[in-house]
């Protein structure tokens, strides 16, 4: 899938729409983030699962600090409170 910036889309709308008319899907980036998809009118609109998860996978690959799973943290706190109550 090709990527265009919102500026390119604004300045070259006809060229982008011609690409889409020929069957090309375009991902529109604004402020460095994928904001929209342009797809041919006769194509299924739903993005593929890979497209949905592309940002998640990119962020994961970049690494960075990890967080504790908040669902587990909440359960752990509840269990500790319950255990303290039983003591």
């Amino acid at each position: 899938m090709k990527t265009v910036t919102s500026k390119e889309l604004h300045e070259q709308t006809a060229r982008c729409l011609n690409l889409v008319r020929r069957g090309q899907r375009l991902r529109v980036i604004r402020n460095g983030r994928a904001d929209a998809l342009l797809v041919p009118v006769n194509e299924q609109v739903d993005p593929s699962w890979d497209e949905i998860m592309v940002e998640v996978r990119a962020a994961r690959a970049k690494g960075g600090s990890k967080i504790k799973n908040p669902v587990l943290e909440q359960r752990r706190r509840e269990r500790e409170r319950y255990a303290a109550h039983l003591r």
Binding site: D46, E55, R57, R60, R75, R79
Partner: protein, 149 residues
Amino acid sequence: MPLIYADTSTLFAYFHPGDSFSETVDAAVAQHSPDFAYWPLLRFELRHNLRRLQSTPHGGVAWRALRAAENTSARLRWQNDLATARVIESAEELSAKHGDDIFCGSGDVLHVAAARRLKLLAEFDEFWTCDDLQAKFARACGLKTRLFK
């Protein structure tokens, strides 16, 4: 595609790239390409936990991915037959039967009860969780269970 009941802890880890279980869960999804059972309790708990983090960079990524996933018919399979009242009744039965032995909270029991209902109603393959006590409980309730560590 296998149908998995993924506890909220697992779905959170799948969507949130900074979660400590994120890579492990993603690897399992890549290996098995499952569909995930989805119903109101799971949706609420998942949205609630992601919503609270959506102002953070990773949280924003996760939130957008979840909403995009909910807008498609792919992978998150809505379970119309999982009636909340029946799941709560089933959870009550499980609590009465196992509650003294296994140290689970009411929310954790509800997910196991929902997975058991799903097993009765539809094709169901596995229960996935990152919660060791819930995994123990799910196994005691007869569910084939995968625990992420």
